[in-house]
């Protein structure tokens, strides 16, 4: 009974968000790109991001070991807010360079990652809840888009958690985790057959 009430409350939040238009980001995305500018001003962080991505592919990735050589940056973290299926906001501190998928796992957030970041599934699908933040991300690659095509509950601001890497401008970004119970019950969303 209580659980039911909570989920209805969460559903209402999601409905509201949909109304506020976070689902229609494509039209404005190119107007607000600030990433290029950011790269010119902070080359250090860019390098660190890449290092982290490389080590991700090598598996058994330990962010702290790769960043410890860089002194102060070890402690540089941003806040990412996961929004679960009940609409509950769960803020977590994430080191620059870490992927959203890893950040979720380190913080016991229920986000799958079936293919282990090899771009062979879409189970780490997250929805960037604010267009402004979505526009700060690099464009998804063809390979990411191929998997997003199959993602459950795809929106205009969907991304794969394994491909979104923490960087300073993303501080405060809110990421919704798609949910069957929410989508089936409220949004009237019909999953695509493929």
């Amino acid at each position: 009974m209580l659980g039911h009430m909570i989920s209805r409350f969460g559903s209402a939040i999601v409905k509201q968000l949909a109304k506020e238009g976070y689902l229609s980001a494509y039209g404005t995305r190119n107007l607000q790109r600030s990433y290029g500018q950011y790269l010119r001003s902070s080359p250090m962080v860019q390098r660190q991001t890449r290092t982290s991505q490389e080590s991700l592919f090598l598996r058994n990735h330990k962010f702290c070991t790769s960043s410890s050589e860089k002194g102060d940056e070890e402690t540089e973290k941003i806040t990412i807010v996961f929004v679960d299926k009940d609409g509950e906001e769960i803020p977590v501190k994430v080191p620059i360079g870490m992927s959203v998928l890893e950040a979720a796992h380190e913080n016991d957030i229920d986000l799958e990652g079936a293919c282990e970041a090899s771009l062979a599934c879409s189970t780490c699908h997250v929805i960037v809840m604010d267009t402004e933040y979505y526009n700060k991300l690099e464009e998804p690659t063809d390979e990411e888009n191929d998997m997003l095509d199959l993602a459950f509950g795809l929106t205009e601001t969907s991304r794969l958690g394994c491909q979104v890497i923490a960087k300073p401008e993303l501080d405060g970004v809110r990421l919704a985790i798609p949910s069957a119970t929410r989508n089936f019950a409220v949004d009237g969303f019909v999953p695509k057959p493929h």
């Binding site: 079936a114 599934c121 699908h125 888009n145 069957a180 999953p191």
Partner: protein, 483 residues
């Protein structure tokens, strides 16, 4: 964060301490079964789960369906293994529902029974000549190259001609086409079954035709798989330019689906590139044939009983409802010669005794995963404690990840029913199952048995520079598990 953690711990504490064990049996250990187990373990601290499977090996289609050249997709096995090793979860392979034990017995033993045994049969075309030799379902062919113990002796003849026809244009069609056409040197290091690799090395198939009733806008394949075949060395993709013409109805379909639009664009790109390639002696061709439906299979004159081709009827699209177009025959026919046909038109679930079944849809009738039966008066009612997940619940569509959401829905229904107090009776659970299996002399394979199979396969694989060399007979699998 700490608030979240505290709330989490409190809910865990109460759910595990406040009630008796909830005995759950999940039938089928593929993605639907494992995701259901995972979600139940997380949601119910009192749940004790047994996952049973008719095979000695777990993981369902991740092991026997996913193509050998898609190792990344199989990473899901790592996650599933963690679930199987959870202290409140057990795996028992080589246990067959319907023969070793009855559904009614399982329902007596467990509070909750979730059927997630997938779709182990095939849809039929229902056209003349379907029983000729040389015609297989794609499922049989896939199980053969993936070393499924029921199909390791299929021995499809790949040397009779240079042409194979695949009916269907979904991802299964594309998988079997790719395995037929990919250079075997690229398959040699995968976990493809040894018997399949040898047969493919000697294969004379150089041309594969993928036949679809509808057009490139409606093709059921996905962009990733299409991009992959477009990238295979020496493989030339052929698409008729005229098939790429789109109607306003097609435009509308693409507007409503970014996936369809991206697939259409990829096919167009492939068609444009096709004209520019040089002929190569070892060239392999993949022909996308749109707007054709099979009318009958042709029998060879020299070898009676053997397929020699397919008679195809041309089709056009008709809009039936908003956004949906179906293919209708035009009465114009043509023959396509080949020595092998693979039907990739869809899987079908198999009913078991005592289970409501919708034969038309090939699924178990259900509402949000709750199995529903019809009373003699025609009124539908819930079957208490009986649930479905995966292909048995929603039909054979979707990818591994689809089961994540499918399981969430089924587990949501289970949780609601538990909250309403439908699972309060005392059940024997695992202990009862063990006694029953013992009494019937069923040689179950538990997860440590699977780990022995796994270790043996990996060791055999390393001797041959492969990821894994699968054990492909029941005998070998059971022997390895018992070693």
């Amino acid at each position: 964060m700490s608030r979240y953690l505290a709330r989490f711990l409190v809910s865990r504490y109460f759910s595990s301490a406040s009630s008796r064990p909830l005995h759950v049996c999940i039938v089928g250990s593929g993605p639907a079964g494992f995701y259901t187990a995972d979600k139940l373990l997380k949601a119910h601290g009192e749940a004790r789960i047994d996952i049973i499977d008719r095979l000695p090996t777990p993981f369902g289609l991740v092991r026997s369906g996913v193509a050998p050249d898609h190792p990344d997709t199989k990473n899901a096995i790592n996650q599933f293994s963690l679930v199987a090793q959870h202290k409140r979860c057990s795996f028992y392979g080589n246990v067959k529902l319907g023969s070793d034990l009855l559904l009614s017995e399982l329902r007596d033993l467990y509070h909750v029974v979730v059927l997630a045994y997938g779709a182990e049969s095939d849809k039929d075309l229902g056209i003349p000549g379907e029983r000729l030799s040389g015609i297989y379902s794609a499922r049989e062919f896939v199980w053969w190259y993936n070393g499924h113990p029921d199909y390791s002796s299929l021995k499809p003849d790949l040397k009779r001609s240079d042409t194979a026809v695949i009916l269907g244009q979904g991802n299964v069609a594309l998988d079997v086409a790719r395995i037929l056409l990919r250079p075997t040197t690229e398959l040699a290091s995968t976990d493809i079954a040894r018997h399949a690799l040898s047969a493919l090395e000697e294969s004379s198939i150089r041309k594969v035709y993928l036949i679809g009733r509808r057009g490139p806008v409606q093709a059921a394949l996905t962009a990733k798989e299409l991009r992959e075949v477009l990238g295979i060395k020496n493989l030339h993709v052929r698409i008729k330019e005229t098939d790429l013409n789109v109607t306003p109805a097609d435009e509308e379909e693409m507007k409503n689906s970014r996936a369809r639009k991206r697939i259409y664009e990829l096919l167009s790109k492939a068609a444009a590139a096709a004209g520019t390639s040089e002929a190569d002696p070892d060239q392999r061709e993949l022909h996308f044939v749109f707007f054709r439906q099979p009318d009958q299979f042709l029998e060879s004159d020299e070898r009676r009983g053997q397929v020699s081709g397919v008679n195809l009827e041309k089709t056009i699209l008709e809009s039936v409802e908003s956004g949906k177009q179906i293919a209708v025959g035009t009465g114009e026919f043509e023959d396509l010669s080949c020595s092998m046909v693979l039907k990739a038109i869809g899987y079908k679930s198999v009913p078991i005794n005592g289970l409501p079944f919708d034969h038309k849809k090939g699924i178990v009738p259900n509402v949000s995963g709750r199995v529903v039966s019809q009373t003699s008066g025609g009124i539908s009612q819930n079957e208490p404690g009986l649930y479905v997940c995966g292909w048995l619940k929603r039909g054979p569509v979707g990818i591994i990840g689809t089961n994540l959401y499918c399981a969430e829905e089924t587990v949501g229904s289970i949780s609601e029913d538990i909250a309403e107090g439908v699972c309060t009776s005392v059940k024997a659970g695992s202990k009862g199952l063990m006694e029953l299996l013992e009494k019937r002399n069923v040689k179950k394979v538990d997860f440590s048995g699977w780990e022995k199979i796994d270790a043996k396969e990996k060791q055999m694989g390393s001797e041959r520079n492969k990821d894994r060399e699968k054990l492909v007979s029941w005998e070998d699998l059971l022997a390895a598990a018992a070693s």
